[in-house]
Amino acid sequence: MKPLSRLLPFLLMSLSLHAAEPDKARQQELIYLLKQDCGSCHGLTLKGGLGPALLPQQLHGKSLDYLTTTILDGHPGTAMPPWRGLMAENEARWLAKALQRGVK
């Protein structure tokens, strides 16, 4: 028992380092943030507002890297703000993927 409990923090750490995806609870938070907070500019249903629509057909042909960078660093000189600081890189990438797939 003892060795395992000592190992646990390291196990967890390596898990989070390699985690490509945020955990389920954080995923839910991110979708909520997408709808509510991104939604204040892009629309609750992402059909557009002050910012452009973010539905799969609009994002078609735009790379995952472009979308991830857009989310993290914003588009300077426009109203699209940088979200780095409110979310980690893997979280932004996960959101970008969700946008490409389409969010229900």
Partner: protein
């Protein structure tokens, strides 16, 4: 006969008894495309009207008899809600994507400002029939700008700003069949919202793309647009703006006006005698709404994400924050009762509406409303610009 039938349908709201509408209002349920009906005498919910479409950025104006609420939805829907019967009295899909609206001085016309296709459309308040269409063309090649900051003004006018174009337009609808438009160009980059002073004289647009605000004196249109506060915060770094501030409620106390600073944790205090910056009040986050209690003694402020769990109260005599409240995550809007003794706050993430006593700053009651956002009371019917 028809009227009697319609009125008898209101049994669910008030037992069929005759009642006034001066203490009524609506709360937008943004996720469900519905509004809750409320009354402020007993602070209770009276009913719910659904089927209003995407209300993620909805606003409301009232008919001059305070019976009908016109609800402007994000998806371009314009709905007319009958507060007495608790029913939808009319609905049109008027564009792809809209942002807000206004009702004319005489109450006959309802104007809606649209993002796509950009422009303003004006409807008959009675029938919701389209009466005028004003596309917001600018620059070369038939581009249309997103329209923001639409308000009514005395003299049967509507005034609004063009986000992409950096323009203010004043439209006179005295003759609805031939509205006349006066354009003011180069007012500054990206006006994000605007307000009009309670006397209907000054229209002020906030700028996102640069510091300062654009001021138009509607009594002296020939003087043109003047820039105010052009260099507050020059050289200081702005924070990322996660939510556009709103300029809906003109917060005015004596000769001072209070407005949100864009990208800063500050409320700006403007001297309305000469439009100079009098003070920058440090606050908890980036302000979204800065609203004065009707008597002007207090100003209440809510904030953008990630600091939207807090509300602060500013005392307008000492120009300092006197109270910090933590209603919970997602405080989206505040509405004062007509004489200001109580204020209602929507707390989106907790699906609650809270009512505070503005003298003691104590919580009086919490109502359950799903994902509430805007709260609108009928006394707006008789206020210029609301």
């Amino acid at each position: 006969m028809l009227l009697w039938l319609a009125l008898s349908g209101c049994a669910s709201l008030n037992g069929g008894a005759v009642r006034g509408t001066g203490d009524l209002g609506v709360i937008i349920e943004r996720a469900d495309g519905a509004v809750s009906l409320l009354e402020t005498t007993g602070n209770s919910l009276l009913g719910r009207v659904s089927g209003l479409g995407d209300l993620s950025h909805a606003s409301v104006v009232y008919s001059r008899d305070e019976r009908y609420a016109f609800v402007f939805g994000r998806d371009g829907g314009l709905s007319k809600v009958d507060l007495l019967t608790g029913r939808l009295a009319g609905r049109v899909m008027q564009s792809g994507n809209s942002i807000g609206g206004a009702i004319s001085q005489d109450g006959r016309w309802v104007a809606v400002s649209n993002y796509t296709p950009g422009g303003v459309r004006i409807f008959d308040a009675e029938t919701l029939e389209l009466k005028a269409d004003i596309p917001s063309f600018w620059g070369e090649g038939g581009k249309r700008s997103k329209v923001v900051g639409l308000v009514d003004a005395p003299g049967e006018k509507f005034v609004f700003s063009l986000w992409d174009a950096g323009e203010i337009w004043v439209v006179d609808v005295s003759d609805i069949d031939a509205p006349s438009i006066r354009r003011f160009r180069n007012i500054g980059r990206n006006p994000y919202d605007a307000l009009i002073t309670p006397d209907g004289r000054y229209y002020i647009a906030g700028l996102f793309g640069e510091d300062g605000m654009a001021l138009l004196d509607l009594w002296n249109l020939d003087a043109g647009v003047r820039r105010i506060l052009p260099d507050y915060g020059k050289g200081e770094r702005k924070l990322p703006v996660y939510k556009m501030p709103h300029l809906e409620g003109w917060a005015i106390a004596g000769r001072l006006a209070f407005v949100p600073a864009v990208g800063r944790h500050e409320v700006l205090v403007i001297d309305t005698e000469d439009w100079s910056l009098k003070r920058r009040i440090p606050v908890h986050g980036q302000p979204v709404f800065v609203m004065a209690r009707p008597d002007g003694r207090q100003v209440w402020v809510n904030f953008a994400v990630p600091r939207n769990d807090t509300v602060q109260v500013i005392d307008t005599q000492s120009l300092s924050v006197v109270k910090t409240l933590k209603p919970g995550k997602g405080v989206l809007h505040m509405e004062f009762e007509p004489r200001g003794e109580q204020v209602w706050l929507s707390v989106r993430d907790r699906s609650k509406v809270q009512i505070y006593d503005t003298a003691t700053l104590k919580l009086l009651r919490e109502l359950s409303v799903r994902t509430p956002s805007g709260i609108f009371f009928t006394d707006r019917a008789h206020r210029i610009g609301l």
